[in-house]
Symmetry: C2
Subunit: 139 residues, 2 copies
């Protein structure tokens, strides 16, 4: 029921910074990337990998709130999108390094910008939430 066939075929990738929504077809594809950013853990993993390659349990320890399953799935998704590389060292015990690709590092930039904005305007947003909550709950 969902238009999975996304025929972007946009000849002008250098579109003006006006609106990134010239067509609805493109939006779907862009949304999938946005969804990755909105993933509960993807951004965390990306941020952790900015410093350099990390091992599986190293990441698990750094994020600490994540479960093994979710870390695996998140890493898989990131790897699938070409955002991180997975290097296996056939040693005993096995060792797997995850590293940000150039694409992943590129994604990290706008994500960091967004993160900065979020961090900066956090008080405003939380204040608005409180206000809305109060108004909606006590009204």
């Amino acid at each position: 029921m969902r238009p999975e066939h996304i025929d972007v075929t946009a000849p002008e990738v250098t579109a003006p910074p006006r609106r990134p929504s010239p067509d609805h077809s493109d939006c779907r594809a862009v949304a999938s990337v946005l969804a990755r950013v909105g993933d509960k853990w993807s951004v965390f993993v990306i941020m952790m990998l900015i410093d350099g390659p990390k091992r599986f349990n190293e990441l698990k320890r750094m994020i600490s709130g994540i479960s093994q399953r979710m870390l695996t799935l998140t890493l898989r998704g990131l790897e699938r999108d070409g955002l991180v590389t997975r290097t296996i060292f056939p040693t005993i015990p096995p060792r797997v390094d995850y590293e940000l690709t150039d694409l992943g590092r590129g994604l990290a930039e706008p994500v960091k910008a967004l993160g900065n904005w979020a961090f900066t305007h956090l008080p405003a947003i939380e204040g608005a939430r409180k206000q809305f909550d109060k108004r909606n709950g006590a009204d």
Copy 2:
């Protein structure tokens, strides 16, 4: 290109390429904003409202893939975060206008940057997905 031109309270936020994770507590809060961006419809609505205030069914028509329920919920979430305002005209039939607040317009900037990045690197990502899929499916 990147809207680093944001009114940050901390001057160190822009300078160091370090990771914006001074505390884990903050990450949670930032994640909630990121989650909003990652919402399936929030970004679409924000983009539609950049041009100016829109009515409910107007938005519903523009996005078209969205259900009434989801549009309502998305709008509520946006309103709760202080990103959009809801103006009711007690006419018959009733008319409700949704408009981006200053905060919402501010959020639109990094989101547009992210959207542009996504749009630009869409071929790379989709290619990586195809490759991963093929390698994982045929292996």
